[in-house]
Amino acid sequence: MSSEVKCIPPSVDLAKIPSEYDGLWVVVNRSNQAILGSGDTSRKALECSRRATDDPTIVIAYVPKEEHVVLISHPK
């Protein structure tokens, strides 16, 4: 039996965030991608936005500024 495929955009479109936010955490309105606050930690960005932790309309993203990232985690 085939299942329906649900196509969804990324919750934050990193391509649309201005470069002035590179290296910062940003609170983004999920529906229109508006930036509601920023900071150098997730919590500071949330406080800047004055939104609640459990507000389902927001997402908090880190805006990467490095060109390439390699992270491999193996439990030892």
């Binding site: 329906e4 919750s11 997730s42 997402v59 880190y62 805006v63 992270l71 985690s73 030892k76």
Partner: protein, 137 residues
């Protein structure tokens, strides 16, 4: 609904990556949603320790089990919480994972143990990835 197709995203002119939104839950507390990279190179899920301190009221360095994680840059100490809930809002599914916490510049990565080994994930690099949860009851 058991299949999702999610577009890659990334900074202009740079590598696009597969991100999925993640909420961490522990003892009645939770983080806001944070997009995290789906990392097939990681055995385990690894998260930014600041998220644990700021939202879950736990200090991983003080209360987690000490463990080691090995990457390309060598071996690091990590704090492990064996029963952390990883909720993926887009899938409306939760996973209980043995999560590693350490200092990271970004929110974290979703690895194999507890999450990716529960799903069928197919990558169409730079474009989109598909998650097939058809076998989940």
């Amino acid at each position: 609904m058991a299949k999702w197709k999610i577009k890659y995203t990334g900074r202009p002119g740079r590598t696009k990556r597969p991100y999925i939104e993640v909420v961490l839950r522990f003892a009645g507390k939770q983080t806001p949603g944070h997009p995290m990279v789906v990392d097939t190179g990681s055995d385990r899920c690894m998260f930014n320790e600041q998220l644990a301190r700021d939202y879950l009221d736990i200090n991983p360095a003080m209360y987690g089990m000490l463990d080691k994680a090995t990457g390309l840059s060598g071996t690091d100490d990590v704090a492990v919480f064996p029963h952390l809930e990883v909720f993926l809002p887009e899938l409306k599914r939760s996973f209980i994972v043995s999560a590693q916490f350490k200092f990271l510049l970004f929110p974290g990565v979703i690895g194999h143990e507890g999450v990716l080994n529960q799903l069928k994930v197919t990558f169409h690099h730079g474009e989109y990835f598909e998650i097939d949860d058809s076998d989940h009851p």
